[in-house]
């Protein structure tokens, strides 16, 4: 059976910056759907995990009590907006989780409904119907077009197109076949054509889909190290502002005391600043914006990976991805196209190129390897030789390529043509009484030296020439590597080739370094060496012998098609099995951290304007000079305070899309990134609330009780 040539991605995919990752637009329906969850999250038992919002909730409860005891329109307006602040924060998290939940629901459906046709044995064709959960490791099941694959496993027989949209979201079907590197299938996906026999590799209840459900739901999401650190900083800021507001009270009482002529107001009376206003000030000062969005940012980061078909087994790995400074990339499939291709026919003296091409084509017809096929294709493209089918030549005795002989060819009416590895073909020539000239040796060495693979073509007794098989570097790789360099990431190409060959390809692709003649041990040693120097290493792998290196690396991305050992060892799985995606994973990791930093900066910068709104509102009555701080010229103390509180709440809602989508990230140097983000989120964070609070004030000053 001929092996269908699978389309290897022939160029590095452009990072998807929009599309399904979106969530960019505020979707009111999504918000509405998440509202019940947001309200459930008001439960203090769960909310205390978020210290900033927990303080806001306590403040909201406290002001509610005050408003009940001493009702006024102003007090109730503040109470409502304080509660809304907490609800908006919960909403951010709920929306982020909701996207995962929807996905999980689909996944769960795929899982429960499945019935399996279990074969009695690997050889029998008899089957019995069992429920998918009953399948054990090692069972064989048969799946036909229209049926759902009942569990994770490897295709042992047949080929089929499979709809993996249930897990990958990608509607285009993929080919799964026995043998090769595309044999793994995932439970819950649907066979669209043909029939395959699958050997189950999962334990019951531990399927990939089970793990995915757990991951996308994020039910037991662990806080990542950086998230914990940021939470500590936010808690510290909260404490500082708590102290600053509470200790202001005796000072306020004193200030009121020494100005006995000043009438009590809703903001300040003989007992100091009123509780409602004090809580308002506190809530405006503590970093509510980032406190509200922090967990949503983390969930959305994982989600962005999921949408790019990468499953991160821990949030820690996603964070580590942002820090990666060394990227180990396998040459084959990542930097170059999966297979080497014929690029040149070099005849020996006295043989024409056409003659060589004809012999090369003839001898390769029985070679079903991708290299062999590429020779046939090249002969057709360059020399116009029509592809002949083995059947159309009578009396031909085909010699297929095997790993032992390392040759292929044909015996045709007494003419014997062979093509294959230099040593093998030379030996064959000598065995048939020929004497390969020195010229052949030079050609072979020349091609090896330039990084190519030489295949010698011979007719009985004499060498005709050499085929130059070349590695074809994928388009766009050099640009990607330049980008990486600008981001401060070193790329190392891993290859089994000899150093000379490796260097040639490394130069062509533009990687920083290469590891030639790499064994799994070499790979592991390289990772350890890099880590010893304090660098974080990311790599992809699929084979069992990659497992130790995957486990050692900081970000180990296993290909979904890879062996289960590799999947266990890595901390991410790429469902598309596209090694180039490592680059995108690094970008997502960085984007996650940048989003956190940007919103923290924004949140703190916001405080400046809020002070300018609230301090004069509280104290201009006792010290009229302080009205000079009311630079926004807000209408009244009440409207100033309420505007600040409303702005503080609305900014959370306004930033939910940004938290879910992540801030814009373009690979560039740290300095440039920082300048841009400081400009947008630092300066923007200072200016935006001045504008926002003023606008809100312009609207609400007409409400009753605002003057």
């Amino acid at each position: 059976m001929p092996t269908p040539v699978l389309e290897a991605p022939d160029r590095a995919p452009e990072p998807k910056k929009s599309g399904p990752v979106g969530g960019g637009l505020l979707d009111p329906r999504q918000m509405l759907r998440s509202l019940p969850d947001a309200l459930k999250k008001l439960n203090p038992v769960t909310l205390w995990r978020n210290p900033v919002m927990f303080i806001v909730e306590i403040g909201a409860v406290f002001t509610t009590v005050l408003a009940v005891l001493d009702p006024s329109f102003f007090a109730w307006a503040i109470v409502i907006w304080l509660w809304l602040t907490v609800v908006f924060a919960n909403l951010a998290e709920a929306v982020a989780e909701g996207r995962g939940k929807a996905q999980a629901a689909t996944l769960r459906k795929a899982k429960t409904d499945t019935q399996a046709r279990r074969l009695k044995s690997s050889t029998s064709t008899e089957w019995e119907a069992v429920g998918a959960p009953e399948l054990q490791q090692g069972d064989y099941v048969v799946v036909e077009a229209g049926e759902i694959i009942p569990g994770d496993g490897d295709v042992v027989e047949g080929i089929a197109s499979v709809d993996e949209s249930a897990i990958t979201g990608e509607s285009a079907p993929v080919i799964r076949e026995s043998g090769g590197d595309r044999s793994a299938v995932t439970g819950g996906t649907k066979v669209l054509s043909d029939k395959i026999i699958v050997q189950i590799t999962q334990k019951p209840g531990e399927s990939f889909i089970d793990r995915m459900i757990a991951l996308v739901e994020g039910a037991n999401r662990q806080k990542t190290p950086n998230e914990i650190a940021l939470n500590i900083l936010l808690a510290a800021l909260t404490v500082i502002f708590l102290v600053a507001t509470v200790t202001m009270q005796p000072l306020a009482i004193y200030s009121k005391l020494i100005n006995p002529g000043v009438a009590d107001s809703l903001a300040l009376d003989a007992n100091g600043v009123t509780g409602v206003v004090l809580v308002s000030l506190l809530v405006c000062l503590i970093p509510t914006t980032i406190g509200a969005l922090l967990s949503a940012i983390g969930i959305a980061g994982m989600d962005r990976l999921v949408q790019r078909n990468v499953l991160a087994m821990s949030g820690r790995a996603v964070e580590a991805a942002g820090d990666v400074s060394t990227l180990l990339l396998d040459k084959t499939g990542t930097i170059t196209l999966g297979n080497r291709q014929a690029g040149e026919f070099v005849p020996v003296a006295g043989v024409s190129e056409a003659e060589l091409a004809e012999a090369a084509q003839l001898s390769s017809l029985a070679d079903e390897t991708p290299e062999g096929r590429s020779i046939v294709v090249f002969a057709k493209q360059q020399y116009g030789l029509r592809e002949r089918q083995p059947g159309e030549l009578a009396h031909a005795e085909w010699v297929p390529f095997t790993a032992q002989t390392r040759m292929s060819g044909v015996d045709l009416d007494g003419r014997e043509v062979r093509k294959g590895a230099a040593t093998a073909v030379m030996k064959w020539v000598r065995d048939h009484g020929g004497h390969p000239t020195e010229e052949v040796g030079h050609l072979v060495d020349g091609i090896s030296g330039s990084g190519g693979t030489p295949l010698v073509v011979a007719e009985k007794g004499r060498v005709l020439g050499v085929i130059h098989l070349k590695d074809v570097v994928k388009q766009g790789m050099r640009e990607r590597f330049d980008e990486m360099r600008r981001m401060g990431i070193r790329t190392v190409m891993i290859t089994g080739d000899n150093p000379l060959t490796a260097k040639a390809i490394a130069d062509e692709a533009g990687v920083d370094d290469f590891l030639a003649e790499a064994t799994p041990e070499d790979k592991l040693a390289l990772i350890k060496k890099e880590q010893e120097g304090g660098r974080l290493v990311a790599m992809t792998g699929d084979g069992t012998n990659d497992a130790p290196a995957l486990a050692q690396s900081d970000v180990g991305v296993a290909m979904n098609t890879g062996t289960s050992a590799a999947k266990e060892a890595g901390n991410m799985v790429d469902l598309d099995s596209n090694p180039t995606k490592l680059i995108e994973i690094v970008e997502i990791g960085k984007q996650l951290l940048i989003t956190r930093g940007a919103l923290t900066t924004f949140s703190i910068a916001n405080d400046i304007a809020k002070y300018f709104a609230i301090i004069p509102a509280m104290f201009a009555a006792v010290y009229p000079g302080l009205d000079a701080l009311n630079v926004m010229r807000l209408a009244s103390p009440q409207s100033a305070i309420l505007s600040a509180v409303v702005f503080n709440a609305l900014v959370i809602i306004a930033l939910i899309p940004l938290a879910l989508r992540g801030v814009r990230y373009r690979p560039s140097s740290a300095s440039k990134l920082l300048s841009r983000n400081l400009y947008v989120y630092g300066l923007g964070g200072i200016v935006a609330p001045f504008v926002g609070i003023k606008l809100i004030d312009l609207l609400i000053q007409f409400l009753p009780g605002m003057s």
Partner: protein
């Protein structure tokens, strides 16, 4: 020459002198703390103390040594004060009362030098020399030791130790403070300061009144008071006294002494971490903040008094004629930007905004350039916090000088940042909340509030200067301010040492194009911004009800 021009020349010549010495002096200190050899005097001291000078200490051991040394120091200083009548050179002074003795002991051991007493009428010569002046040296050396230990944390790689406290203490005292103090004292004597052991002289003034003037070893104490950013004056009026600060020229020299170590330590830091440009960045942050503050204070003081007060001489209230407005303002900035607290004019009499600047300088945590050692470690903590937020914005988990700023590091840095503001605000609130304590205020209204706020800011930040006006030698203030001084000094030190230990244990991450550069103007600007914004946000409500309310009225 106009006042402004004179003031500018004063400032520019100071900057020039500091810039000139920054490199050689910073390099010298680097050699002092990095060298392996001990000199004979030091070996003698180590034998006397019974310490093994060649063993390195982990951070808890370093911290314990430091605390033990400080506790013993407090007891000794307390004991000498209480027993001074039984000791020689007492000048007939009575034992110092218990709450003042406790306050003073803490004050000098913590490098604060808050003085709840009047020097010339309370302390005998032996107390001044053996208790107070000794602490002026060693408390400064302690601050420097902590800074050096933190720098070692950044410089070291996978190390369990951060140096040896005793070695750092002894070397800082013997090789840095003593030689400069010796030369500096001679310079000051030549500038007109006194240095003798004479007692009280009764003199009749020109107007016929009687005055008792105490002589004493003033120059030797003056030099270390400034050099070690201590600030505790021999006389009650501190550097406003002609025996402590004779001329405009000695005034310049004293400011120079205040600033020379804090502004040179960043160079030492740069050398120790192997990248002098990192030191330049830190000194740039300090310089930008300091210069802005000095210029603003000058501006408020020179401009704050309009033509009329100038004509009637009111602009000079609280200031010495021989120094003038500008030089007094510069001294006031220098003394509050560092943890010195010496004064040559009375901040209470400054314009509201000028007075606020001195308050704000201290509220910055005294980091620009800050106390000897304390300024550097305070600034490095702020750099760590800046790196944490900014580092995220370049898409990496934050790192500073190759060391990751993770949960533990940010916890220690945040707690450090929490301590002093909490002490200041809680202290101020407690005093303002009690009518009894409010009675100590000289002025009512927002200015009275500023007096209290200033006292707690000064004590908690280990500055030691007084706004003046507030009566603080009551048991309540002595105890409360004493607690602020102790916690304000030692809690941050413990946190810094813990941070040093945690950083030293890390393997550094190599620098790359993706690393946040921490030596560029961009970073300098950011640290300046973070410092000012964080402090402004924390203290704005209190400032609004004090100096701002007063200034805008």
């Amino acid at each position: 020459m106009s006042t402004t021009a004179a003031g500018l020349i004063f400032i520019v010549s100071l900057i020039a002198a500091l810039a000139l010495l920054h490199k050689p002096f910073g390099d010298y200190m680097y050699r002092v703390y990095s060298g392996a050899r001990h000199n004979r005097l030091e070996r003698g001291v180590y034998r006397l103390l019974g310490v093994r000078a060649d063993t390195e200490q982990s951070w808890p051991v370093y911290a314990r040594s430091l605390l033990a040394f400080s506790v013993i120091s407090i007891l000794v200083v307390y004991g000498i004060q209480r027993l001074q009548d039984k000791l020689p050179l007492s000048l007939g002074m009575k034992p110092v009362t218990d709450h003042i003795a406790w306050n003073t002991a803490i004050s000098f051991v913590t490098n604060t030098n808050w003085q709840a007493y009047s020097g010339e009428s309370t302390m005998g010569h032996l107390t001044q020399m053996a208790a107070l002046a000794v602490q002026n040296f060693v408390s400064a050396a302690v601050g420097m030791a902590v800074a050096i230990a933190l720098v070692r944390g950044f410089a070291r790689r996978k190390s369990g130790t951060i140096g040896n406290f005793w070695v750092d203490l002894v070397r800082g005292t013997i090789r840095i403070l003593l030689p400069i103090a010796f030369v500096g004292a001679l310079v000051l004597v030549s500038g007109g300061l006194i240095q003798n052991f004479s007692g009280v002289h009764e003199v009749t003034t020109l107007t016929g009144g009687a005055q008792s003037i105490t002589g004493g070893p003033v120059a030797s104490q003056e030099v270390i008071k400034e050099l070690g950013t201590n600030g505790g004056g021999f006389y009650n009026v501190n550097s406003a006294h002609p025996f402590e600060n004779a001329t405009s020229w000695t005034n310049w020299f004293e400011i120079f002494l205040i600033l020379v170590i804090p502004f040179s330590l960043p160079r030492t830091f740069g050398k120790m971490v192997g990248q002098v440009r990192q030191g330049y960045a830190i000194v740039a942050v300090m310089g930008v903040i300091a210069l802005t503050s000095v210029l603003l204070t000058n501006l408020f003081e020179l401009g704050g008094h309009a033509t009329v007060p100038q004509a009637v001489g009111a602009a000079m209230e609280g200031k010495e004629v021989r120094f003038g407005v500008a030089n007094s303002a510069t001294f006031a900035s220098a003394t509050t930007l560092t943890s010195t607290g010496a004064v040559d004019s009375f901040h209470d009499s400054y314009t509201p905004f000028g007075g606020m600047m001195t308050l704000f300088n201290m509220m910055l945590g005294e980091v620009a350039p800050g106390g000897v050692g304390a300024g550097l470690y305070g600034m490095l903590i702020l750099a760590v916090i800046t790196v944490f937020v900014a580092g995220l914005m370049v898409g990496r988990t934050p790192e500073y000088l190759g060391k990751k700023i993770g949960a533990r590091e940010i916890k220690l840095a945040s707690l450090y940042f929490l301590v002093t503001p909490a002490l200041v605000l809680i202290g101020t609130a407690s005093a303002m909340g009690s009518a009894e304590q409010r009675a100590g205020m000289l002025n009512s209204g927002p200015h009275g509030l500023s007096e209290v706020l200033y006292a707690f800011t000064s004590a908690s930040n280990n500055n030691g200067s007084a706004f003046g006006g507030l009566t603080v030698n009551t048991p309540w203030y002595d105890v409360a301010l004493g607690l602020c001084m102790v916690f304000g000094r030692f809690l941050p030190i413990i946190l810094v040492l813990a941070l040093a230990g945690s950083l030293a244990a890390q393997a550094p991450v190599p620098e790359g194009a993706g690393t946040l550069p921490t030596h560029r103007p961009q970073f300098v600007g950011m640290v300046v911004g973070v410092t000012i914004i964080l402090v402004a946000l924390t203290f704005l409500p209190a400032l609004a009800l004090g100096p701002i309310a007063e200034g805008l009225s």
